[in-house]
Amino acid sequence: MVPFSYAAARGIQSAFDLASRKDVMFIAGGTDMLQLLQDDVVTPATVVDINRLPYVGIETGEHGARIGALTRLSDIADDANMQRAYPLLVQALRETASPQVRNMATAGGNLLQRTRCLYFRDKAAPCNRRAPGTGCGAMDGQNRMNAILGGSEHCIAAYPGDMAAALVALDATLHVLGPDGPRHIHIEDLHRLPEDRPDFETNLLPGEIITAIQLPSGDFAAHSHYLKLRDRASFEWALVGVAVALEMDGDTVRRARLAATGVGTTPWRLPYVERALTGQELTLQSARSASSVAAEGANPRPHNEFKVLLLKRAVERAILSAGGLA
């Protein structure tokens, strides 16, 4: 680790003041930050601890739920109201990382975790995301874990988080607070496609902090599912993760929201699948037919071509599980 200074924000204004210094990074749970610091992937001059800010806890009501951004993942997964109203999110969280990490990691920090691309995490390797202009080592290298959707010639790093896929399927909105005041960002607008500037990873502005995740209420709790496929049974990143939330009228799909992780450069919504399902009776055939368009627009590389078929089959399986047919 390169030496850095440390300061704890006592309140939100203190966080903004500290953030106006040069090369500042906020730290909350620290589970990804410490890995990045250990490997010199990030080298902040000052680390600002935001754990004392009051954005902790879960409120649930008729109009949905509000999760404080500093709430630990295990506390969300253990919350009885969340288990009842948002089993999809709880399921995704239970399959995230390890128990130790879930006790430490925060909701906001989880959304902002960095890619697991091998070249991003190795400071000696070329990487346009970490070191703009140095090239992309993954493009013709070890790209098995990389994205098949949303990549550019500059970057094919996959977004790795499970929770974000669930939040996209649940139509979540983020509360954000910055030096210029509060605003809302829809979960689908948080992460940016790499395009020609993969180093700009999110649409947060300097100093802005995610304070809460807002979940609308809905009629999908009984028909939702998170399916995570990975190289070992637990404590592993998704090769493909699929979140499905269905609202049903009897056997007919009234509304479908699906998102995938591990396959896109951002949490990846699956609009073609949603359109193919909506208004259809849910059957083995309609699920297979809808899943056939899951990888529309995919541009795989030599080592991750398997993800195209894996994504389609995972989507099919997750739809059937959500609909109670598997």
Binding site: M1, V2, P3, F4, S5, Y6, A8, I27, G30, T31, L34, Q35, L37, Q38, D39, V47, D49, N51, S74, A97, S98, P99, Q100, V101, N103, M104, A233, S234, F235
Partner: protein, 253 residues
Amino acid sequence: MADRSDANQQENSRLDAPSKDKMGAVSGRMTEARRLTEEALHAERTGDDDRADTLFARATRIDPQAVEEILNEAAVDRESHAGHEPDASLAVPQEPPAEQFEIELLVNDTAHRLTVDARTTLLDALRDRLHLTGTKRGCDLGQCGACTVLLDGRRINSCLTLAIMVQNRAITTIEGLVKDGRLHPMQQAFIDCDGFQCGYCTPGQIMSAVGMLAEGRPLSDNAIREEMSGNICRCGAYTNIVEAIRIAAQQER
């Protein structure tokens, strides 16, 4: 983790070759003493005298002769460079001394005041500063669980935690489990069930298992496996670890 162990193996073979030493234990001690001494020299260079003293003392306890040899080598190195103009392009940039912070850690019900660099992880503070070496360093990246301790009763990876961020919160390490000279039931269960081979991952396994019960997790064999997935055992003692946790959980009820 793989990189680190490769590096250790290379280091071992490099040291083994000239001495023709086939005694793994002896070369292991020497390697450890060498590593500690080199770390101490580095700490001295970066102005962290406290850490340097601690590391020299530890290295000397392990192998005083090796420490002396390395210090002589370092002195010869310095002499051979004297009189030459240093080549600026080869110079390793000197890190400015890191900012120091006074912190207080509450470990196993005892408060400790210490001065740390902001980079100091809880794992480093426990092992290198408080000499509570029961907590083990494996991967240093949160992947192996050897460094598991309890923070306010819940399991965390001490390698992913900055010491300065957990001041005055209740930290429990494996050393804190013994009460009135008696092993914690989970420790006893690991012994009774033969829940380890080399023992390196064991403190982390036990802390994770204690935390798992404190967190009220389900206790089927499958649930135990899932709940213990943050702790890796390279000897593969998993079957007996699951049994130990099952038995300790039954006793607790």
